[in-house]
């Protein structure tokens, strides 16, 4: 009995010392990325990780847990011990879109918000011979030809499709959504002329836009994107409220201590001051955005509710 109590006391003491923020982190951290290795989310997470490790003075391992549109990885983090040694580095869709479509065992408020990292927009591009050269002309052309044009997107209920549908709904446009497996597949079919409009993230199509093989006319962020000068942001079109972007963040399991979250958020903020990292993000068409704690949670809540409503209107909401 005595030994048991002694052991208990030791365990308690151990738990207390690890809970102290002063020596956190004192062992390697696991960062779960809910996407396969090699994609955009993975590259950004790994690149950031290179600058994060020296800031934390601890090694951090990226672990790819792909599947279920990101739900499998997020789920794994939500069930992990909230000791600050299992973190999630994700983009927004698994948190704000997927829970409306599939049964998942987490929600935006059952994860501890740490910090947002960066944001990038989706873009809509057409071939050079498309009869439009500006965003307004593009939207008018689509309005005048309902159901004529096909646009590729990242899949049913993917955030990209929602971003496009929000704009199309506001302009009373009917375009035919063709769901592909990802931006690479969409690009392949767009370049091959099998679909009329590319809809997806910026990096894959960027070199083609720069070469004049694609005209990118709309970005789905409020502001314009410096990488795509021909494209208009939604502010310029007079609809900043339709902004739907791709953004990245770090979250922890529910119940992770605020002190630990602050340590990570501070380290991310310092890492994002490195010019090499900023240059890497700029090449991907991404800008750093730092939002913490309750602000981050509020942003997730707003987006989740807005997208849930839209999915309901599109008849895609399941949960």
């Amino acid at each position: 009995m005595y030994t048991v109590r002694l052991l208990g006391a030791c365990a308690l003491a151990l738990a207390c010392t690890t809970a102290l923020a002063s020596n956190y982190p004192n062992r390697p951290i696991e960062i779960i990325v809910p996407a396969p290795a090699g994609g955009g989310t993975d590259s950004v997470a790994r690149m950031l990780n290179q600058y994060l490790e020296p800031e934390l003075k601890q090694s951090a391992a990226i672990i790819n847990v792909a599947g279920g549109g990101g739900a499998i990885g997020v789920n794994q983090v939500s069930r992990a011990r909230p000791d600050g040694y299992t973190l999630l580095s994700t983009w927004n869709s698994p948190i704000t879109t997927v829970p409306h479509m599939q049964r998942v065992q987490y929600s935006y408020d059952s994860l501890t918000p740490i910090t947002s990292i960066s944001q990038s927009a989706y873009t809509l591009c057409v071939k050079p011979d498309f009869p439009a050269d500006t965003a307004e002309e593009f939207l008018t052309e689509l309005q005048n030809n309902p159901s004529r044009y096909t646009y590729g997107n990242d899949g049913v209920g993917g955030t990209m499709r929602l971003a496009a549908e929000r704009i199309f709904a506001a302009y009373d446009i009917q375009a035919r959504a063709i769901p592909f497996g990802g931006a690479g597949e969409t690009l392949q079919n767009f370049l091959g002329g099998h679909i009329d409009i590319y809809g997806g993230s910026i990096p894959p199509v960027l070199p083609y836009a720069q070469d004049g093989q694609a005209k990118c006319l709309i970005v789905t962020s409020a502001s314009d994107n410096p990488a795509l000068p021909q494209a208009s942001g939604l502010e310029a079109l007079g609809h900043p409220e339709l902004e739907t972007v791709l953004w990245r963040m770090m979250l922890g399991p529910n119940g992770m201590s605020e002190a630990h979250a602050t340590v990570i958020a501070d380290a991310v903020a310092r890492a994002l001051e490195n010019p090499e990292l900023l240059e890497f993000l700029a090449k991907q068409g991404e800008v750093p955005v730092l939002m913490r704690g309750e602000d981050l949670r509020a942003a997730l809540k707003n987006e989740s509710e807005a997208l849930g409503e839209l999915l309901g209107q599109l008849g895609l909401k399941r949960n």
């Binding site: 779960i32 290795a37 090699g38 739900a71 049964r103 497996g181 690479g184 895609l316």
Partner: protein
């Protein structure tokens, strides 16, 4: 362009890059040879460690692991009937019967040479024909993909062997396995039974390891304890002299290389399919198709040449267009991005040294197989067979478990692997052919989703499937293959 190629050759001849190729190829053979460990996982784990190095060192390692593992996978496939990587499934069909007949040495040598030839042809295609082949990639829309999938599915007719009912049931079971999960076109959850794990579908790698690598282990566990090493198996035969090999296989090699390169440029298909289609073609075209599956060396040559010929050509859409066709291509593009390179059409001009350097590395690591493969396989890896089977069984199971676990970091995958292993074992015992299952899993969903995408794009106008020139070409090819098969059958019935 020629100057750029020569210059890049100078760059990769630097000692560090040479060393990385050598280490990569050796590591690749080892990874391929260990069941459960596979090149995707190895490259994904190793790549982050190279971010601080010169990009060509990382790429040299990738090229070596990729090419080396294609051959490495054949070693346990031939010696133990366990495919070391999923791409080596077709190698077991004739490789293992060869070992049973005491021709293991010849089978290993055949596999090694065929892999090296396939990899070399593929790298040369990438070096010289990348731009026109990339245009081919773009010309293939959903309609063409649908026909490619149908073409592959009809080859089940060749693979089923004697028993039509069992062959078809196996293929349908494969399609059913492939259909589980969220349907990407409608968002409908199919056969998920409200289970979170099933939403993403069964992970392909886990299914293939379970169905093809676990059953031989279970069978080995039941047998009397013995070591499988038999030196007579590795004695060089007269028929394995280099010239003789070339004379025997050059037809198979040329056809399998073309098949592998073509499968490679289509994003999403992969080495499994290249090997199976090459094997089929060799069997279909053979004078005695019955000898396939009984230890015909041509079967090993076709499968190994096909899966290696897929390698470099699968980099064509990735390097020329920025569209990754498989997981390894995605990892290569990710690595290039981290090194500050922009994947896309200007990669060849903007970073000629790196792109051409990588292509040279793919070529040289294939050639390295001629040297390393024979020596290593026969002298070193065959020693594993000296282990008593009572220890070979548990250690192999641990390797498979670690391999499956590291794919997704999920312990549920382990039970799924074992479950499919049990299914594979039982089907084996009931004389069901297992080859049609893998074609069903790979091609069923591909045919379905591309059919529906085509219908969406054409607004339900099915004439689209017959009016596009490339589709017509594939249909013609399909009819020729089926026609010749029918003719052969008819002749045999009348003649015999």
């Amino acid at each position: 362009m020629f100057d750029a190629m020569l210059h890049a050759f100078g760059v990769i001849m630097a000692p560090a890059s040479m060393l990385s190729m050598l280490v990569g190829t050796l590591a690749g053979i080892l990874i391929g040879a260990l069941p459960g460990l596979n090149p995707v996982m190895a490259i994904a784990l190793m790549l982050p460690l190279t971010y601080s190095f010169d990009p060509l060192i990382a790429l040299g390692l990738i090229a070596g692991i990729y090419n080396g593992s294609m051959y490495g996978g054949a070693i346990p496939a031939i010696l133990l009937k366990i495919p070391g990587t999923p791409s080596a499934i077709a190698t077991t069909f004739d490789g293992y019967p060869m070992t049973r007949k005491g021709m293991g040495g010849l089978a290993l040598k055949t596999a090694c040479w065929s892999s090296a030839v396939g990899g070399t042809v593929s790298a040369i295609a990438l070096m010289t024909l990348a731009p026109p082949l990339a245009q081919m990639t773009l010309a293939f829309g959903p309609t063409e993909y649908f026909w490619v999938a149908v073409f592959g599915l009809t080859s089940i007719a060749v693979l089923v062997g004697g028993d039509l009912f069992k062959g078809m049931l196996a293929a349908l079971l494969g399609i059913l396995i492939g259909l589980v999960g969220v349907d990407t076109l409608s968002g409908e959850e199919r056969f998920t039974f409200d289970n979170l794990y099933l939403i993403g579908g069964f992970p392909l790698m886990v299914v293939l390891i379970g169905l093809y690598a676990v059953p031989p282990i279970l069978e080995m566990a039941e047998k009397q304890n013995s070591a499988h090493y038999d030196p007579a198996n590795f004695r060089t035969h007269k028929s394995s002299k280099a010239l003789q090999l070339i004379r025997d296989y050059w037809r198979t090699w040329s056809k399998s290389s073309i098949i592998g390169v073509c499968v490679g440029i289509l994003p999403g298909a992969g080495g499994n399919l290249a090997a199976l289609l090459s094997y089929n073609e060799a069997k279909r075209n053979a004078k005695e198709p019955e000898s396939f599956g009984q230890g015909n060396p041509v079967g090993v040559a076709a499968a190994e040449c096909g899966n290696s010929a897929d390698n470099a050509s699968s980099m064509i859409p990735a390097l020329t267009l920025g569209i990754p066709g498989n997981l390894i291509a995605a990892l290569v593009l990710g690595a290039l991005m981290i090194h500050g390179l922009q994947p896309g059409p200007r990669l060849f001009t903007d970073s000629a040294d790196i792109v051409f350097g990588f292509i040279w590395q793919l070529l040289l690591t294939s050639l390295l197989l001629f040297v390393l493969g024979g020596m290593l396989a026969t002298r070193l890896f065959a020693q594993v067979l000296r282990l008593p089977s009572t220890l070979l069984v548990p250690t192999t199971l641990v390797l498979m478990s670690i391999g499956v676990y590291t794919i997704n970091g999920n312990t549920t995958d382990l039970y799924v692997m074992l479950g499919f292993g049990l299914i594979g074992y039982l089907l084996n015992r009931m004389d069901f052919p297992l080859a049609p299952i893998v074609l069903g899993v790979l091609l069923g969903p591909m045919a379905e989703s591309n059919f529906r995408l085509s219908m969406l794009i054409s607004q339900n106008d099915w004439t689209l499937f017959f009016t596009r020139p490339i589709s017509q070409g594939i249909i013609a090819l399909l009819l020729i293959v089926l026609g010749s098969q029918a003719l052969k059958y008819y002749r045999r019935k009348c003649g015999g």
